[in-house]
Point group: C2
Chain length 198, copies 2
């Protein structure tokens, strides 16, 4: 494992997705592996951490998740803009060498056998919590986060530090049609407490 990658405390794993980046979702089953892009991924709980992700019925990655019960949600960077767009556009059903065409490489994480995309800034290993009604009716999948890692150049001490890292390591936020915004300026509210209540 790269010395730049460190485990993230599970109770802080939600912070890896809290700013709403577009993510890559990967899964493997019986030697078959795939990666897709998903703008519709979101934290669902703090502890144990859970996430939601919307996976269209046409996607090969969805099939692999349904078969294996495991998946990885990872946070791509500005440097991976074209890779993100490409894995979100090409279908593995139509393009058998999709991953090679898109330039996807794997990042080994000791003790883990799931497919982690190299070059991302954070990885959340998820166990599918089967909810057949949500999956069929809404294409909505729920995962419990059972492991989390981040690139310490941008996430350390439980916080993102985009403002002091290279701009190429910032997250990306898809709007539509290949148009994204990078994560921007850091801002702090004048009375800083938790958001998410009322």
């Amino acid at each position: 494992m790269s010395s730049q990658i460190a485990a993230v405390e599970l109770t802080k794993a939600y912070r890896l997705l809290n700013h709403g980046p577009t993510v890559l979702v990967s899964a493997r089953h019986e030697g078959c592996v795939n990666v897709m892009a998903a703008a519709w991924a979101c934290p669902l709980d703090f502890n144990p951490p859970k996430v939601t992700v919307v996976l269209d019925k046409s996607s090969k990655t969805r099939e692999l998740i349904e078969q294996s019960g495991m998946f990885v949600v990872q946070v791509p960077t500005v440097a991976q803009l074209n890779l993100t767009q490409a894995v979100g556009t090409l279908s593995a059903y139509e393009v058998p060498d999709k991953l090679a065409q898109c330039g996807v490489e794997w990042q080994a994480i000791p003790g883990q056998d799931q497919p982690f995309v190299r070059g991302c800034s954070a990885w959340l290993l998820c166990r599918l919590l089967p909810e057949p009604h949500n999956q069929q009716q809404y294409d909505l999948f729920i995962g419990e986060v059972v492991g989390a890692w981040a690139d310490t150049r941008v996430f350390a001490g439980g916080r993102w530090h985009f403002e002091r890292a290279q701009p190429e390591l910032r997250s990306i936020h898809h709007v539509a049609g290949g148009h994204f915004y990078a994560t921007g300026e850091a801002l702090s509210a004048s009375s800083a407490v938790a958001v998410g209540q009322d």
Copy 2:
């Protein structure tokens, strides 16, 4: 209605949330009204557009949504950073004049009677799609978007235009503890097609 506010085509309403901003959720029931902040809101479908939002059981806004079956998801701006933090921190159960303390004002939209927070950049009017299991088990609420509007200074022609508007109109993305990132630089993938497939 302000001349800066225009209706957004429902099939493009997902774009108002696709970049993953922290939102404000408001609801009204029998003369009682409230607003909370939510970082965990996400598009769920294109057409008809749907959204998910996570609402803690301790929140007054959740109670109003359960009672009225309607809510508004709106996108606050950099100028509303402290308002967002404040409505996400104070509880209406403990602070009866929460909205006045937080400086919340309402934006009239002709023909609509739901509470739209003034000064936001976009508003999605939602009808609750009751899913008792998701609501109880995961605090997860699903809404169908039945109306959408945006401030034309930042969203026009079906697209955000943060790059040509005042920085104070950018969206905000909460990480934790009152620390946010603004929406940043616009980026386009070299082969621009839709993300969200594989």
